[in-house]
Structures are given as C-alpha cells and as structure tokens.
Assembly symmetry: C2
Amino acid sequence: MTGQLPATAVVVGTGLIGTSAALALRRHGVDVWLQDADPAAASTASARGAGRAGTPQAPVELVLVAVPPVSTASVVVDALRLYVDATVSDVASTKTELQREVERLLGDSPDLRRFVPGHPLAGREVSGPEAARDDLFADRVWALTPGPAVDADRVAAVESVVLALGALPVRTTPEAHDRAVALTSHTPQVVSSALAAGLSSLGDVDVALSGQGLRDVTRLAESDAELWTEILASNAGPVAAALEGLIRRLAAVQSALESPRPDTETVRTALIEGARGRARVAGKHGRAPVRWEVVPVAVADRPGELGRLFAAVGATGVNLEDVRIEHVQGRPTGLVELEVAPESAQALVDGLRADGWSVRR
Amino acid sequence: MTGQLPATAVVVGTGLIGTSAALALRRHGVDVWLQDADPAAASTASARGAGRAGTPQAPVELVLVAVPPVSTASVVVDALRLYVDATVSDVASTKTELQREVERLLGDSPDLRRFVPGHPLAGREVSGPEAARDDLFADRVWALTPGPAVDADRVAAVESVVLALGALPVRTTPEAHDRAVALTSHTPQVVSSALAAGLSSLGDVDVALSGQGLRDVTRLAESDAELWTEILASNAGPVAAALEGLIRRLAAVQSALESPRPDTETVRTALIEGARGRARVAGKHGRAPVRWEVVPVAVADRPGELGRLFAAVGATGVNLEDVRIEHVQGRPTGLVELEVAPESAQALVDGLRADGWSVRR
C-alpha cells in the first residue's frame, strides 16, 4: 500500500467512470491495470494514461468493477475468485439486487467479506474512455453499502480510495440506498418523461403558452432511454413503490378537481405538502435551505452579452448564489435571473442599473 | 385614440399586473384611471405614476380588469354596463369558465361584443403595486381569446395595446387556451408538488444522494399554495383530464416494474415518448430545438468567482446560450454548466483552460 492506497489495482470496465477512476488512481501512483470486454476501449484508456491493459502478475489489492449494471454481479464474483486477496468494489447505481445476486453466486464463501459495493453519484452527458477525467468525482457523493459480513478494514480501504478520488464517502445499506435513489433520482426521471409524453400533441400556439417551469420539469426527459431502462429495471421494486405513492397523491388532486364544486382543501393540502418536501432538497450544500432573492435582468441575445452582464455583476462585489436564464418565446431576448443573498440584492440592483442594465424590479 | 391606443383607460385592480399595465399605458400618454377594492392599493399605484385613482368623466375607451380570478367575471360585467362604449379586457389565467360566466350574467346583451378576454403570461415571485414595472410584459406572450360575437375592431384595439406594452399577442379560443395551460403550466405544478411531497421523509443521507435533476423537477413546488389552489380550481376540467392521462402513463410504468421480470419494453417506450414530447418545448425562442454542448467548469464558492468566470467566457468571444449552476452537497464548491453551440465548444474549453479554469471535459 502507498499510504492507505493500494499499490496495485485492476479496473474492469474502461468507460467514463472506470477510466476516470483509473486516471485518478494513477495520479496517486497506484499501478493500475485495465480490462474491458472491448479491448479497444481498454487501449484507449491506456493511451490516455489510465494504466496498462492486461492482467498484473503482482498481488492485486483493489479491483474496481465499472461494467454496465447487468454484468456487475458476475464480474464482481469472478474478480473475488481470481484475485484472492483483493478488495472488490463496484459502481452500479442500484445495490440491493446486486448484493442478493452476488450472495447467491458466492453461497457461503468467505469471499463475500471482501466485497464493498459502491455508487459514485457522478455522471455526464457523455460516455466512454475519451470523456474520462481524473477529477470526475471531485466533491461528488460516493455511496458505500457494505453488508454485515464485510471486513471493516476493507471498507476503510475503499473509503480511503474514494477520498483520494476527491469524493465524499457516505455509508448506508443497499435497501436504504435504493429507496433513496428511487425517490430522489429514478421516480423523478419517470415523472419527467411521463409529463413530457403528454406534450407531443401540442400545437405551436400551445408551445407559445409554455414557460420556464415546464422546461425545468421536463428536462430529465432528454435522458438516454436505454441506460434509464436498465437503471429502472434494476431498482424496480422501490421505484414501483414510489410511483404508487405519487399516483395516489395525483389521483387525489384529480378527484378533487373532478368534483362538481372543486374540493379546494384537498388541492391546497397537496400544494402545501409539496412545498414542505421541496424544502428538504432546495438547500445548497446540504445546509438548511436558504431563500435567495431574485434579481431579474433583461439581456439581448448578442454574442458576449451574458459575459458583459456577469462582468458587471462581478464589479458590484456581490456573490452570485445562482443563475437561471429564461428564454422568451418568439423573440431573441432573454431574462437572466440572478440569485443573491437578500442583504446583497439592493447593491446588485443599484450597481447594474448604474451600468445601464435593465433590471426588472 | 392616440394613434391606435385609447385616450382614456380604466384599470380595475392595481396589483402587480394591473399597475404594470397602467405604468406602461401612461408611458404611451394614455389617461389612466385606477380602481381597486383596497383604496390604499390604488393610491400606491397612483403614487408610483400609474395614473389617477377614481372614475373619469371623459368617455372610457378601454377597461382592463386585473382583479383576482374569482372576481373577474362580475367586475367585467359591471365594467361593460358602466362604460357603455368601452372595450373591456381582463388578465385571468384561465378563460373558459370566465367566458361562460360572463355570458350567463349578460344573457343576450350586445355588451358581449365589447369583451376581449386576455391572459398575459407574465408573473413574478413578488406581487402588489410596489413590485409593478412598466416593462413587465416585454417579450411576453399575451393570449387573447375573443368569442365569435366580439367586434373585430375591438380585438384589433386590444392587440394594439398588447403590442404597445411590448408583449406578443397570440389569438386562440378559451377552450384551446385552457387545455394548453393545463398541459404546459397547471399539470406540471401539480406533478412537481406531488413529487416533492414524497420527499418529506428523506433523511440526511438520502438528501445527500439527490442531485440537480431532482431540484429542477421540484422547483415549482415552491409556488404559492393559495394562488395555485385558485388557478387549479378555475381550470379544474382540463387539469383533471391531463392528470388522468399522466396517471395512466405512470401506472403503466409502475405495473411494468412490478412484474416478476420487469417489462422493459414498456419502460423504454415511456422514456422514448417522453423524449419526443420534450423536444416540443426544449427549443429556445420557439424555434426547432437545438442541442447545445455542455462545458462544465468547477468553481469555488467565493465572492465574485462566477463574475470572474463569465468575464473569462466573454473574453473568448463565445456566445453563451444557457447557464446552469449545479451545487454540490456537503462542500462549498459548485459546477457551472456553460451551454454553447457545438461549433464553439472547443474554443470555449481552450480559452477557459488557458485562463486557468478547471474545465471538466
């Protein structure tokens, strides 16, 4: 071990995640070996400096399995059998079925003590070893879901690797992990897609009547259908349960609106409960949620216009907490919503107005 | 008439919308009279330069009714009866029930020929005459839903006013308008709230596993519950119908995931149909949707850091199409996603790297 890091590691699966992890491990001096069902992918990763393609002769301390979800269990088990002293981890985005399948394949083998399942919450619009970066995991949460049989020092070793990659290890159980991502990631994906599916029939006038809110809610509907089919199938139970609860709440509103006199109390309650739930996730940095003040500024759709605006913002000395750009249908102009701490809002407004900007407040 | 604009207008309801319209009409030299059930609100609007509080002696050519949805029909009818030559318009966010109610109250009176219903798609997080601005409607769509009995020159007159306010008049029927906003605005609100309501029970670790996608989908859940209860009740039928279709699609996915072997074909189809619907609304400016290339940049959470980044972007000469800031749980850093035309992406990456920025690609 180099400090707490392994001297020799094998990365199986040299896509975006595997190659990024390999690059980061190399940066820490780990001797990394790369394997992929597609030898060209392993070669590409190797050419990028992620390690050597092939199988090491030296004892392997860590195997990171970064293959597609459906193959993860069998590759994990093969690795546990082949590298008899190695700690084996993975990056699959759901954990319960994987744990069950690995346990089924291993029976009561002590190999199970060396399996530390993980899930880095990092991804990009792109994929493949070409898109890999050694800082892909910087500041990202990396869930670890070790079973009760796992050796504590193996969990600690994987946590050291996760920290070395710049990520934040968070320990939980496979079941809690899958319930959480069902609610926070998988069900939102289904909802966004289902809502967007209802828009196919919209005419041009109807589209003109749509705004930024709709674009926010349906953005996830652009996600890759193949990848998400696999993810949803791998977490079918928790997602189905979350959908059941969601459908129940939607049906209550539907029924309230179908009454001859709409049942406004039910509608109001649904909206209030939504605001309460939103407050759990609206906060920045996981802290208690803060309400930023919105300073809307009209900008022309000209090259460099946003750059000029943000330079003007910088000149005011006010710290921008968030930015949203609202595009306006039918005209080449936009509204930029600058979000700042309430006590800074007036200084920003004054500074931008003095600089000639059209602040809409 | 001053050109095509009325010489004298009455604005009933001096909240955000009414006062903003009054300010814009004043800017065009229209003699504006302000009325509100709350005399203090009318005084505030008047003090802001939106016109005079009270009732004019001169003939009134235009009455703009900008009162809360539940009062709109009766105020419209009162105005048609009181100002016997005036064109009367309104700003309520749903149109079918309003039209029905006005027709019921008027019977077969020819007054109906002077009613040109409207709906400006402009709003803000704030309300009241204090928040009004004369450019609130700039570049916003303003739907007009005149019935078949309405005089054509009255519709044209209201269109002139809408254009003078800087907005884009879009003519449609009350039913088509309400179906469209049910799909593009009201149902997304219900969905966002219902999804967010499922998050109340999340623990801190669960929240750590959530990302930007969830925050996008649940953002609307912060909306004002009282206002939205009223809006949803006023468009109950079309929203209930849209919810029914949505629930059917969600239930299909739920059922597919509950099968002993998940029915991946149904899941995949739902995701593909979502992507198709999303393409209807993803475009900027109502044009065919364009896929921007995303250039992610890591930034520290320091005052002025975003300003410095955008100054650097401006220096590259690349036109920024969109910006998203992804906050990272647990650490005071963030990821800024710059969206640019694909052919400009490399120039932006090179320019930012040369300037020392951590581009994550």
